[in-house]
């Protein structure tokens, strides 16, 4: 079990560092730090005390926030696809770039589709008996955890669109998709509080942690999204033109 977790952490870390070493242009150290910190969240969530207390919803939610929300933000900020394109030889990079623009990838990385998938996965986990089953099976626990990480990552990547993936929608569409995902998360947290799943302890505190912790990360992602808009070339140029005094 632990071995599988360490493989999930160490292999991506090694691949990323190899990519940085081969990158054609200097790679900002902050992105490498974000990648390693994201993988660190994964290790903390899946090993140690958070993973050991299975029936406690507080520990489960702390792990869920790290896996499904904090780690995805850090992994997105690390821009792994951009690094891949810079590290690969040009012909291979062109093939990857074409792959990133194919129809299935474009559909999956649409912010509404990605956010919907993320929310649907969470509703499946907490709305059915899956949570109770997962608490008693280490294999299922790892599988569900990886799914939570991947769908959270996909949704965050689609909203922030930092990597060259598919088609990038405008800031308003992405902000609305993010808000819709946050609403689904909030409603789910309150539903868990109202009717906790069978066989868990600390349900009320766990649900509140999910709600408030989720809000903090959603506000952070919204701030990153709007900062990106504020600093985008088109918005800056527009503002500079508007700020010029009009000729008399």
């Amino acid at each position: 079990m632990t071995q599988a977790v360490w493989t999930l952490v160490l292999v991506p870390a090694a691949l990323y560092l190899a990519g940085v070493a081969r990158s054609r242009s200097p790679w900002p150290v902050g992105r490498t730090a974000a990648w390693l910190a994201g993988l660190g969240c994964l290790a903390v969530a899946l090993t140690g005390p958070l993973a050991a207390t299975h029936g406690d919803l507080r520990a489960h939610m702390a792990a869920h926030l790290l896996l499904g929300m904090v780690a995805p933000v850090l992994l997105v900020l690390a821009r792994p696809s951009t690094l891949l394109l810079r590290a690969l030889p040009a012909p291979a990079a062109r093939r990857v770039s074409r792959g990133l623009r194919t129809a299935p990838v474009r559909v999956l990385t649409d912010p509404f589709v990605a956010t919907g998938l993320n929310a649907a996965g969470l509703w499946l986990l907490y709305g059915t008996g899956l949570l109770t089953a997962m608490l008693h099976s280490p294999g299922l626990h790892l599988l569900v955890s990886v799914h939570v990480l991947l769908t959270g990552w996909l949704a965050t990547a689609a909203v922030l669109a930092l990597d060259p993936i598919g088609h990038r929608r405008g800031v308003v569409a992405r902000a609305v998709a993010l808000a819709a995902g946050a609403a689904a998360h909030d409603v789910l947290a309150k539903a868990l509080y109202a009717a906790p799943p069978a066989g868990v302890t600390g349900a009320e505190a766990g649900a509140q942690l999910m709600y408030h912790g989720g809000t903090v990360v959603h506000v952070l992602v919204a701030a990153l999204l709007w900062r990106q808009w504020y600093r985008s070339r088109a918005t800056v140029r527009d503002a500079e033109r508007a700020a010029l005094p009009t000729p008399a």
Partner: protein, 158 residues
């Protein structure tokens, strides 16, 4: 065109920024004052059922998203030198007041999702809640009208 007299698209952006921020501020005040400080409102009260859960979750996400978006637009409007205090504050008050009235009338009274306070006679609380919202809304409308007459073409220079 001066700083206090924004052009048409800029004025629209200024209004949208104020409206979004006002909506977010009303939601944040409700959350901070009535949930966290007074404890009159609860994370979940057993009586409100599924509709209350859904509307709470939607509003919570909408108000926080509106706050961030409103502040980003405000930063952009200031950078464009089209910020006008009366227009922006007017929009903030209109949105916050409208939200408060809508919350008081639709959520509390028509849908009965939750109440201002529990275990007391509600008449005074409801009147205060909706009345305060209406006052803020009217103040906002007055501010916006003043801003409009001042920047209207042909108006005497301030």
């Amino acid at each position: 065109m001066t700083a206090a007299d924004p052009g048409r698209p800029d004025r629209r952006r200024l209004l949208v920024s104020g409206l979004l921020f006002g909506l977010g501020a009303a939601g944040a005040i409700d959350e901070i004052v009535f949930h966290q400080l007074l404890h009159w409102h609860h994370f979940y009260d057993r009586a409100s059922g599924a509709a209350g859960l859904v509307s709470d979750g939607l509003l919570h996400a909408a108000t926080w998203s509106a706050t961030v978006a409103g502040l980003a637009l405000l930063a952009d409007v200031r950078r464009r030198r089209s910020f006008a205090a009366d227009t922006w504050w007017g929009a903030v008050l209109v949105a916050a007041g409208a939200f408060q009235v809508w919350d008081g009338v639709v959520h509390h009274k028509l849908l009965r999702l939750h109440q201002v306070r529990y275990g007391v006679d509600l008449t005074g609380y409801d009147l205060a809640w909706i009345g305060a919202g209406a006052l803020v809304l009217v103040a906002g409308v007055l501010l916006l009208r003043r801003a409009r007459t001042r920047s209207a073409p042909g108006a005497p220079a301030p």
